[in-house]
């Protein structure tokens, strides 16, 4: 029961948390003046007329960072149960973790040597 209650709390929190920022924004909408015109609503790029599509071409480097992060994220998440149970594991558990982290490190070293970590 207690466990369910904890998550019920989180559930209610998720449902309520949106209200706190929503209320002042709604209040501002009611209170603030609203006189839109074309110039005011135009895209703000330091006063220069905006040229072309907003969706400029991005560098692939952003994707590479996202990719390395994804791999690390997944691996670290699986280290959490390992770390949690660590005090109850024997030396084999340490070596299992060591090998796991070794592969992770391998990937990092590869990315490093291939200059995939450079912001070019």
């Amino acid at each position: 029961m207690a466990v369910v209650n904890e998550w019920a709390f989180i559930g209610v929190f998720f449902a309520i948390a949106w209200v706190f920022p929503f209320v002042p924004i709604l209040g501002a909408r009611l209170l603030a003046p609203h006189k839109p015109n074309a110039i005011k609503q135009s895209t703000y790029e330091c006063g220069v007329e905006t040229v072309g599509d907003t969706w400029v071409q991005f560098k692939v480097q952003y994707y590479i960072y996202g990719l390395i992060f994804l791999v690390f994220d997944v691996e670290i998440v699986f280290l959490f149960p390992w770390a949690l149970a660590y005090s109850q594991l024997d030396f084999f558990g340490f070596f299992a973790g060591l090998v796991f982290v070794f592969f992770l490190f391998d990937a990092l070293v590869y990315a490093w040597r291939k200059d995939a970590l450079e912001w070019v």
Partner: protein
């Protein structure tokens, strides 16, 4: 026996008042949620004042001092001003998502407060996966930046958002890696248990490297100097929230201030022993004071850092993360794991909960951490020296203290 209804016995109180059990439960939870969520809302008003005041003092200014005593009500005045500011939605913006982003920005920070143990008794929800909850909620934070940047229909916003996401993603790796170490030592993911495990020894003494990593990564995650590239006014004019105005912009700002404070709070909970302090077990309410003090130390250190150091370049930012913080964190995890097993094998693991039982293990871990720090410092020094030699070979410097005199040329 329950004459006074408080939040601790609200359920029983309502049941006595003849309310159905389900409703009583719901009302209790609702009361708790509102209570926990209001704390950050009130805090943020003072946080902004503290931040401005400290930044002003560091820069030899006075800071806000007009509205209210010591300018305390400046933030309230700002909030009122923001309420009456016109809220401009740019043309071509994706309306629904554009309005959703500031709400997510603020809500995700409030949500972290659900798992923070304030005292031995007061915690929103003592989840069994507390730390992972924090990491998960924090990772939703990238979504808000992505949708804010994309929905504004502005090149600068989009570019800023992408830079920011790259930064946040990168620094999440050392952040989460450094959290592995307290989990390993305490053997729990729950926040309340994590604090209890620090009863006789704070984790900052057992894992100083992890604590430093956590602090640095959090500076970057909250976008504080020297990592404030996400609002680099002089480079990408405020980044992802450039098109926001009025209270929506205010929500981003309030969320950012609160996130910085929440990060300090978490550092205090995870590494500085949370609510532990003298007599806290007799008077649980003292936990608020101790936690507040510890948080203030971390927070104000961050603030002073913010107002003194210059911003790093984005390539330096990425290099610092991937070439220094991540390898060090990984090495730290392995060293701590090995030492813990060694300590266990030679029988130095703490048998009881008092201070002296924890001392040997702490010393071993501390020495391990110091060795790691020394190794890093050595590598840094050697690299710096090599770089300096290369630089000097490329651009020979004429030292002013040793002027070249005519007769000395022949040497």
């Amino acid at each position: 026996m329950n004459d006074v209804c408080s939040i601790n016995n609200l359920t029983q109180c309502l049941l006595d008042g003849g309310v159905s059990p389900d409703l009583a439960n719901l009302l209790t939870i609702l009361g708790g949620v509102v209570l926990v969520a209001t704390v950050p809302l009130v805090t943020v008003i003072f946080l902004i004042w503290i931040e401005r005041k400290i930044a002003a003092r560091v820069q030899d200014r006075l800071g806000p001092n007009r509205v209210g005593p010591f300018g305390l009500l400046q933030s309230v005045a700002d909030a009122v001003k923001m309420l009456t500011k016109e809220d401009i939605t740019p043309m071509g913006a994706d309306k629904f998502i554009y309005n959703l982003a500031p709400i997510i920005a603020f809500a995700t920070v409030v949500l972290i407060w659900a798992i923070i143990p304030f005292t031995p008794l007061h915690i929103g929800a003592d989840l069994s996966i507390g730390i992972l909850y924090f990491v998960a909620v924090a990772s939703i934070g990238t979504v808000k930046i992505m949708i804010a940047g994309w929905s504004s229909n502005n090149k600068y916003a989009l570019l800023g958002a992408f830079r920011t996401i790259a930064q946040l993603l990168s620094y999440e790796v050392p952040l989460v890696l450094s959290l592995l170490i307290p989990v390993m030592i305490a053997g729990t993911l729950g926040m309340q248990d994590m604090v209890r495990a620090q009863g006789s020894m704070w984790f900052v003494f057992m894992a100083p490297v992890a604590a430093v990593m956590f602090f640095i990564a959090n500076l970057a995650e909250t976008g504080r100097a020297p990592f404030d590239l996400l609002e680099a006014e002089s480079e990408i004019i405020a980044g992802y929230n450039i098109e926001y105005s009025g209270f929506k912009w205010g929500m981003f700002m309030a969320g950012e201030f609160m996130h910085a404070f929440t990060a300090a709070l978490l550092a205090a909970v995870i590494f500085l022993g949370g609510w532990w302090g003298p007599f806290v077990e007799q008077v649980p309410a003292l936990g608020f004071v101790y936690l507040g003090l510890k948080t203030a130390v971390v927070y104000i250190f961050g603030l002073i850092l913010r107002s003194t150091v210059p911003r790093v370049r984005i390539d330096q930012l990425m290099a610092l993360n991937w070439k220094w913080l991540v390898p060090i964190s990984v090495a730290n995890v392995l060293i701590t794991a090995l030492l813990l097993k060694v300590v266990d094998a030679i029988g130095l693991a703490p048998q009881s909960g008092d201070f002296f039982a924890h001392l040997p293990q702490t010393l071993v871990l501390l020495v391990g951490n110091l060795v790691l720090m020394f190794g890093v410092a050595t590598v840094l020094r050697n690299r710096g020296r090599a770089q300096r030699l290369v630089d000097e070979a490329a651009h020979p410097v004429e030292h002013e203290d040793a002027p070249v005199v005519a007769g000395a040329v022949g040497h």
